[in-house]
Structure formats: C-alpha cells, structure tokens
C-alpha cells in the first residue's frame, strides 16, 4: 500500500489538495481535520474521504499518516509542523510558509531535525511552461540571465478577494504583509532560480490602485506592489497588480543569448531570438517566428488537453508526485530548502519596506 495522506485545514485551498491527491493512484487520502468540525465534515463528504477530525492530535494518533498536508493559515504552520514531524509525518505545506523568515527557518529545521521531508506548494514552478523554461535555461538556450520580470495579476472581485474585502479580521488581513504575503511566493519563487545571490538588494513600494473602471479596493488595503531586485549578475522586477487587466501571470527572462516569455495562464513559452537577418529583413521576420512559436504552443496545449494533462492544478499534481516519490525513494525533495528560505527572506525585506509600522 502507498503513502497514507491527511490534510489539516479545510478552507478553500484544501479542495485543490484533496482533488490533486485523489488523482495520484499510489497514495490514499485517509482523513481530514479542521478545528471547526463542520468544515472538516463538508470536505470529507464532498470528496468521499473516509474519516474527519476536529483535533489534529487525535487524527495523527489514530491515522498515523505518512504525509500531512498543512493548509491552515500560516499563523499555525510552525506549531503544526512541529507536532506533525513529532508524530513521524512528512510535511506538505501550503504557502505562505510562515509569518516571518525566522519561522520559516524553524519550520525547515523542525522537519530536517526529525529526519522528515518538507515541500511547499510552489505549484506554478511545476507547470509545463515552467518546466520548459527550466529546460531552455539549463541547456544554455537563454545564455546567462541578465534580468527577470515576474508579474501576477489579482482579482479583488473574485472569490478570495471578496472574502478579504468583506472581513477585516480575515487571516490574510492579519498577516504582516497582508494581501501581498498570501500571493508573493508565486511571484518570487519564479525569480529565485535565476538570481545568483543569497539575498539581492531589494527596493519595494506599494500603494492603493484606483484605476478607473476596475475593481476598487476597500478598507485601505494596499493592492499594487512593485519590487526591484539586484543581485551580483542578475536584476529582477516583481509586480503584483490588482487593477491591471487582463489578469495575467507571466515571466520574462532576458538572457545573454535569447529572451524567453512565459505566460502561465495561456501556458505558452515563446523565445524572442537574436536576429541574424540583415537590415529590414531582420525587422520583418520576427513576428512570423513568434507567431510560429505561439502556433506550436497552441498545438501542444491541444495535445495536452486531449491527453487530459491540461488541468488547472496540473503543476500541483506533478509537484506532489515528485514529493511523494522523494519520500518513498529517500531522495532530495523537489524544492531545495534554501530556495524556500530565500523566498521567505526576500518577503521579509519587502514587507519591512511596505508595512514598516507592522514590523515596528
């Protein structure tokens, strides 16, 4: 029998975890837990999960899961990780990892100290376009990265945004970095593989957007963030916008040889190549080459769809599969711990500048 999995925290994102775990035939989702029994019950009933609990200690004691997915707000991640690794579980943690970098360090220390493995749900990094970008980088097609731009659009009028706006006590509004802290992992973890320094120079600014015609923010929530980073060889921009439309999730990597543009929503990777044609011809051909790339990507997406590999959380399934495999084969987990820590450290630096009063 394969790994036995349990989930603690039965809010919105737990649905995605349950859905993706159930797609992996070699593991079994045995139980779920939430302090609020009604929430645990609803998740168990909707996903036909055999048992549900409102006490995590009771669940760990009775079920003895191999892996615990922690999908609670980050305020409880450290204590739950300690409790779970104490019970012998490996940990799959929902982002954001922790409130502060020091907690992230303590979380990884707790897991590694107990000889357990840990992964964070950086699922976009395991999407097909991200893997293609990694291949382009590792095979030298891009050359050395000079600059990286990571963009994330956010819909404050969507399910998640509406919940934040309606409830000032929502756990996201109580994070040191508020709304940004809940999403910034997905902006930064796409940049870190290309940044050569442990910690680059970081300049951040945030403000409330009031673009006409788009969803206005409420309650003084800052909803536009710009971050400039500079490492020894590579620089980066990170942009979070709640007002730009259409909602996008993109990454552009400028290399010394070529530039790659990744659209995570459309699932395309397009290479902007150095031109070799002379004069006016060099200006005429590029659109056709880019069009050819998009056509190829479109066909690839059709093929993925026809082979049922075009799910929204396909990257999460791939990440989970690799994580579970790393446990079974005792190999390194799919995301290096130092990557996780770099992201949390960068987030700390950003929030110090954006919300200095919270830090104080």
């Amino acid at each position: 029998m394969g790994l036995k999995i349990a989930i603690v925290g039965c809010g919105k994102i737990a649905d995605a975890h349950a859905e993706e775990i159930k797609k992996i035939p070699s593991v079994q989702l045995a139980a779920v837990c939430d302090l609020e029994p009604i929430m645990a019950e609803q998740l168990a009933v909707r996903y036909a999960i055999p048992r549900w609990y409102s006490d995590v200690a009771a669940m760990l004691e009775t079920e003895r899961p191999d892996v615990l997915h922690i999908t609670t707000p980050p305020q409880s991640h450290l204590s739950l990780t300690r409790q779970a690794v104490g019970a012998g579980c490996h940990i799959f943690l929902e982002k954001p990892v922790a409130l502060h970098h020091s907690d992230a360090e303590a979380i990884i220390e707790a897991a590694t100290g107990a000889g357990r493995k840990l992964a964070v749900n950086y699922w976009p990094r395991f999407e097909a376009p991200a893997l293609e970008l990694r291949r382009l980088y590792e095979t030298g097609v891009l050359g050395l990265p000079i600059h990286v731009e990571s963009f994330l659009g956010y819909d404050l009028g969507g399910e998640y945004g509406t919940a934040l706006k309606r409830d000032p006590d929502h756990w996201v509004n109580r994070l040191p970095g508020k709304l940004f802290q809940n999403v910034l992992d997905h902006v930064l973890n796409k940049i870190t593989p290309f940044l050569d320094d442990e910690l680059p120079i970081i300049e951040a600014m945030a403000y409330r957007g009031n673009a006409t015609g788009s969803e206005s923010s409420a309650g003084g929530l800052l909803d536009e963030l710009r971050v400039v980073m500079r490492g020894a060889q590579t620089s980066a921009y990170a942009t979070f916008s709640a007002h730009a439309r259409p909602l996008g999730q993109t990454l552009r990597v400028y290399g010394t040889k070529n530039t790659a543009f990744v659209d995570f929503m459309a699932r395309t990777v397009v290479l902007e190549r150095k031109q070799t044609f002379p004069s006016a011809l060099g200006r005429m051909f590029p659109p056709f080459l880019v069009a050819k790339d998009y056509l190829r990507q479109g066909m690839k997406n059709v093929s993925s769809f026809s082979h049922a590999r075009f799910h929204f959380f396909d990257g999460m399934r791939r990440l989970l599969t690799e994580f579970y495999l790393s446990i079974e084969q005792d190999t390194p987990p799919p995301i290096a711990y130092k990557e996780i820590l770099r992201v949390s450290q960068m987030m700390d630096r950003i929030f110090e500048q954006v919300y200095p009063e919270v830090r104080a």
Binding site: K12, M39, Q42, D169, A308, H311
Partner: protein
C-alpha cells in the same frame, strides 16, 4: 433578524413593521446596507430598529445578535463563493447562532421561536421522477453531495436547526422558498437556463417555475413565522399561477432585452450531462462536472408545486403574479439602461 440588509431581509423588516412588530434587531454585516432600513423606519412611526453590526462567523457577534430576543428570523446565508465559503457562511454561522441561542441569558431558549429561511433545494426530487408534485411532505435530499454546493449547504443548515431544536426545545418554523425574484434580484434562475458566453441556454423549457415575488415571500415569512399554529412546521413559499420557464424567458425578451437563446430539450441536456460526466471521470476533472445527470434531473427534471399549506394559515400574495413580473422586468430594464 439576520441578513436584514439582504434582498429578502429588507422586505421582511418592512412586513414586520406593517404587522405591528416595532422592536426589531437588524443584524447586518455591512454598514452600507443600513440606509434603506433607516428610511423604512422613518415611514413607520414607532419603529425601533436596533441596527447591530457584525459577522455571524464570530460567536460573540452571534451572542449580541440573539441577546434578549424572543423571535429569531435567520435569513443570512452564503449565496456564492467557494464550497468552503458557502459552508462557513451558511452552516458554521447557523451553528454559532444556535449555540448563542442555547446559552443566552434573558428569554429562555425553549421559549424562543426561530424562523429559518431554507430553500427548495433541500428536497430530494430526483427519485420522484419528472412531473412529481413537491410539497412539504416530499422527502429531503439523500445525496446532497451530488447536488450543487448551495443546496448541500442549505440542507446541512436545516438539519442543524432540527438537531438543536430537538436538544434545546425552541419552536422552529422552516420556510422553503422557491425562486425569489423582484427588484434588486437577478434576472434568471438556473431553473430557466444558464448563460454561457454570449448565448443563453434555455434548459427549463415548459417546466413550472416556482417563483416567489420578494414581497410575497417576505409576507409569507412574517405570517408563518408569527402564526400560533406554525411551530414545528415547514412551508413551501411560492406564488400562485406559476409561469413556465419558457414563458418567463419570452416575457423577459419582450419587456427587458432581446437575448440570443438556444433551447435544449431535456433529453439532450441529459445526454450532454452524461457525456460530461463520463469525460470528467476519464480526464480526472479536466472539465468540471458542473452538469451531471443527477444535477440535471434536480434542476430541470420538472416538478409541480404546492403552496396549499401556506394558504391554509391565511397567506395570500400581496402582489399578483402579473404585476410582480411587470415590476421585476421594469427594474431589470432600468438596470440594463444603466449598463
């Protein structure tokens, strides 16, 4: 009253004032919803509306909501959002409110009356077959997890009220409205059909549409909620002379806006649902199973409805169906012009 600032809530407050209930605590989540209630209070001399702000997910706010009250109208519920949100806003909130009732000082819980506004969605109509009559004796849904999450959460909410009623002993009245409509509401219930891109897929066909005009519905809630014989009873709430879904769509096109619609016969919808279900399973959910044969049968199988029990306690629609539809379409036309 919880949900006092909502689409139905403001009308229930008004009907309570008309019926002479002047001391009403209106529980509101958003301060912006208070204005209409305050205007209403001005036109009813003697009205004492106690506007109470908070979030029913908080137990302490629930305690404030029910302190020293003898009659609770619970209208607040999650209407949209993720499944977790719907359960939190309908079921967790209900449990918090019931616990607050159980432990509150002042009026003993067993002497309190609680009126729950539930939904038609709680009925288990699929095993009944097409054309079956739905009344208060119709069994409740056995497989809520096979239905839409809204119906699932409303059924769990109703079960919770019954569990606490058995334990605490308060008087419980359950109201089950059909499709509540009127000025301030939406244009189409999914019972008529659904909009996909630029096309409206008309799936309801000649099924009866259990419309409940919001004012008539509010009157029913107040009347049954305060009637001496209604303790322990459930009431279906819908208007008389129900239109069919196709008539509603036709009238909408005539009076509000021309829209492009395609009518899908029931058997075609079933075939499509069967195909989607099969594909959903085979592809491990690449396309969501928004339609399954079970969901299709529940939503568009077609039933007849009875509001005889509501009539038996003296309810009659304050607004005639034709006027109700005219007023609704006038409002919707105004909304379209604003766009």
């Amino acid at each position: 009253m919880t949900g006092a600032g909502g689409f139905v809530g403001v009308h229930v407050v008004e009907r309570l004032l008309v019926h002479g209930y002047t001391e009403i605590r209106c529980f509101l989540r958003e301060r912006g919803k208070a204005e209409r209630l305050l205007q209403m209070a001005e036109s009813h001399p003697g009205a004492q509306l106690d506007l109470c702000y908070g979030n029913l997910r908080s137990r302490s706010d629930c305690a404030r909501a029910v302190a020293d009250v003898s009659l609770v109208f619970h209208l607040a519920a999650g209407m949209k959002g993720s499944p977790a949100e719907l359960f939190a806003d309908s079921v967790v909130v209900a449990r918090n409110l019931l616990e607050a009732l159980e432990s509150h000082d002042g009026v003993p819980a067993r002497k309190t009356r609680v009126v729950l506004v539930s939904s038609f969605g709680v009925y288990g109509v699929v095993p009944l077959g097409r054309g079956a009559r739905v009344d208060e004796e119709t069994p409740l849904e056995d497989h809520p997890e096979w239905r839409d999450t809204y119906s699932h959460s409303k059924l769990r909410q109703e079960q919770l009220f019954r569990e606490y009623q058995g334990r605490v002993g308060f008087e419980l009245v359950v109201m089950r409205p059909g499709v509540i409509y009127g000025p301030g509401g939406g244009a189409f219930s999914s019972r008529v059909g659904i909009q996909i891109g630029p096309v409206f897929f008309h799936l309801g066909g000649s099924n009866l549409l259990p419309l409940a005009y919001v004012v008539n519905c509010a009157e029913a809630i107040v009347l049954a909620g305060t009637h001496p014989d209604s303790a322990g009873q459930a009431y279906n709430v819908h208007d008389d002379d129900l239109p069919t879904a196709s008539r509603y769509l036709r009238e909408y096109k005539r009076h509000v806006k021309r829209i492009r619609s395609i009518r899908l016969p029931y058997f075609i919808t079933r075939i499509l649902a069967w195909s989607l279900e099969k594909y959903h399973r085979r592809s491990q959910g690449q396309l969501p199973a928004i339609f399954t044969r079970y969901k299709v049968a529940a939503a568009w199988g077609g039933n007849t409805f009875s509001n005889a029990k509501l009539h038996s306690i003296g309810w009659h629609p304050l607004i005639a169906p034709s006027d109700a539809m005219a007023q609704t379409f006038e409002y919707l036309r105004g909304q379209e012009k604003k766009l």
